[in-house]
Symmetry: C2
Subunit: 456 residues, 2 copies
């Protein structure tokens, strides 16, 4: 490396002396917690974001993310100590930084091909102001090879410096689970692979010292990126497998949840549960980063692709179950009031990115259903062009069918008797997230259907 | 139930007083340990098998199965105490039995449809002599519904009794892992679902009292059978996923083993490893029991079917790797001596049922390779029409390529330097089971290839 200022051994004391300067590119769900954690550990962090509102809030010590426990206090504290500030102007931040950490989103286009435009833009921005001896870290989830073959060349072109020689280029993919990010960042080992031996050394030292986590050093950036995709695709494929079992077992009159819970007693089984589908910024997109590399190399990962298709089909199955439950109650979707409990893509977070519930709502509306939404994270807000109700009761009142779309904690202890008094007689109840006891729902008088559940 | 002799409460003391009579149908890898375990617990067990040799050995206190630690002593002891005897004549055994346990194999035909002929035959045999008040337990792995809709009607037809009323019909699928069966039988919970409330009660009591395991009671036989298939298919699909990653990562120059080991640091990841394919009596067959029910109900489990196809393709990939390693050494398969280390379908057992190594051997021979086999479980025995070598050295001497086909313990600590002196210069080395360090193999002078391994 050009600079000898950064050494792995020196990182811990440099951190304590407020001598490590970090630019975090993107203050989103990953970038903001990352910036706050490094600031807390003593680094001088500048968060760069295009959104003026996010920059202003952060500089005021306020946190735009409301569903990550512990984050608000940390942002407040970091702004107060001056260790964290935010800006829309990347130039100065990057020109002074020892580390530039890219935390921008990597979605997919509607054609299901990776959209790396934000990463490319971030790389151009970083490259323009990159100083010799610094380290560029890619935390964004990308396909194996994207760091070396796309990010690296952009940085070299813009800076005139050489990756792995004049500056370090390291993949350290974020592995956090939205809603638990602060906890994950402090405990989940990081997988780190880089170009440039000493740059990788100091990156390992930085994450271990600042976050207190173990670093697993792998051969190169593409291995680190492959690992991130592998662990997420493992989850996507296994949820698809649970969904495939659910669809088949419904047909065979077997309860998939009972089956999966019984299997969980085996030492080499890891339970995954069926549901309404898979949403969020990661799982619905990550497969396509690998599929895309596979297609390019003439080696298509069929199983991974099939899994995506199965998970993408689940919202339609939830719509079918609504139709069945209403049918049992002697009603049609057309003209029925349907209360959707939960729109977020996963429990206890405020995020509807690629939520499978949206397709369910859209299709039920197309079929002539009248939709009411309630979600504890979106009380009174507009979601999918509808105004969410302020209370559960308001959404459920006079409903012909209830559908649970998100397993928020609040829905795990529904008073089914009370609900049955609020709804019309007779109403359907579709549990697309396995939060209720089918027997209790039937006892309360509903026509019950559930994903993976035998009709009762 | 017709008989009041058997009650759940009474089972433990009845067992101690040698008052429980059990007929075990089939003294195979599951039946013999089952018979021996129940005999040890105090039951009077008659094992029924068509093979005269098995019956004679068992009655002499000798054990035909040589690779299940602890079984031989138990069979010897059970024969000595008289609690276990074997016969080819089912009639008397069944007519006196409180429990008839069906432990016969359920393979698939070459057309990949379930072959339930042994179960049907066992059901006819049991039905002919079935006494009122007894319980028929199906331990064989079958599709959901097969116990109720195939075994039940045969038993009713032959006996004139009614399932769930005059006799109990219970599915209690075996869940053991060959090679660890004695350990599994004592520790792994059993999943039990039956027709006839009290029959299910006494079956739960029998397994808990005799084997000391927890029983998980499920709604009905088909739920128990679905659970057995679900846990095995989870494994088959996840091995296929590991194989899919391996094929793609080889292409991208990423080491799949390094990736999977890194992923293992995440709390919701369960590592499975790629390899030469999946063999044995269970995994290559079990998917088809479910696929078959799916096809009948118009609901094809695509993911499960795709997984089978991926795993079935892996032996061909191992052959490709042999060709690549030989090519790097400047040789062709044709005319080369290829030493196959390990033919068993899994480590440390003596079983070549549906072993993926067989296809590798067949194809390499078709291509003109000269095959030598060494497997510690088959020293000097005939396998796939070849006489296995008595020692590793004899197999490897003058070889142009070594292929590890089974991860037997013996192959985990190969002296690679010594091997390189025995083989011809230069030789290939293909690790199809991830037992060696690629770097060490290369250092010893071999041209290395491995499933999921980057070529070095």
């Amino acid at each position: 490396m050009g600079s000898q200022r950064l050494t792995a051994q020196g990182i811990p004391s440099l951190l304590r002396k407020r001598g490590v300067r970090i630019a975090v590119i993107g203050l989103g769900r990953i970038g903001l917690p990352t910036a706050a954690m490094f600031a807390k550990a003593g680094a001088i962090v500048t968060g760069v974001d295009l959104k003026k509102e996010v920059v202003e809030l952060t500089n005021a010590g306020r946190c735009w993310l409301t569903d990550e426990p512990g984050l608000a206090d940390m942002v407040k504290e970091a702004a107060k100590t001056g260790n964290l500030r935010a800006t829309t102007d990347a130039k100065e931040a990057i020109s002074k930084a020892d580390f530039a950490i890219i935390c921008v989103p990597t979605p997919v286009y509607e054609t299901k091909t990776p959209d790396y435009s934000a990463v490319q833009k971030a790389a151009r921005t970083v490259g323009t102001s990159l100083k010799r001896g610094s380290v560029v870290i890619v935390e964004s989830t990308v396909g194996p090879g994207v760091t070396e073959d796309m990010v690296g060349p952009i940085l070299e072109d813009e800076s005139g410096l050489r990756a792995g020689i004049d500056f370090g280029l390291v993949s350290c993919p974020e592995r956090s689970d939205p809603g638990n990010i602060m906890q994950n960042m402090k405990s989940l080992p990081r997988i780190i692979g880089g170009l440039g031996e000493s740059a990788t050394d100091v990156t390992v030292a930085l994450y271990e010292a600042a976050l207190g986590v173990k670093a697993i050093r792998v051969s190169d950036p593409k291995t680190a990126n492959a690992a991130k995709l592998t662990e997420n695709l493992f989850r996507d494929v296994n949820i698809a497998l649970a969904n495939e079992f659910a669809l088949l077992f419904e047909e065979l009159g077997v309860d998939a949840i009972e089956v999966i819970n019984a299997c969980a007693s085996k030492y080499n089984f890891l339970p995954h549960y069926p549901g309404i589908g898979v949403g969020g910024p990661c799982l619905p997109a990550n497969s396509y980063y690998l599929i895309s590399e596979g297609v390019k190399s003439g080696n298509i990962p069929y199983l991974i692709r099939m899994a995506r298709e199965i998970n993408d089909r689940m919202p339609d199955h939830a719509v079918e179950l609504v139709g069945e439950a209403l049918n049992e109650a002697g009603k049609t979707v057309k003209g029925s009031r349907i209360a959707i409990l939960g729109v977020a893509y996963k429990p206890n977070i405020k995020d509807v990115q690629l939520t499978p519930v949206e397709r369910v709502v859209t299709r039920l509306r197309e079929m002539g259903g009248k939709i009411e939404i309630y979600d504890p994270m979106y009380k009174g807000e507009e979601v999918f062009g509808l105004k969410a109700k302020p209370t559960l009761e308001a959404a459920v009142r006079s409903a012909d069918c209830i559908l649970v779309g998100t397993a928020h904690d609040e829905f795990r202890h529904l008073d089914l008797e009370e609900l049955s008094h609020l709804t019309r007689a007779r109403a359907g109840f579709v549990d697309a997230r396995n939060v209720v006891s089918p027997e209790a729902v039937v006892k309360a008088g509903f026509a019950f259907r559930g994903v993976g559940r035998r009709a009762r």
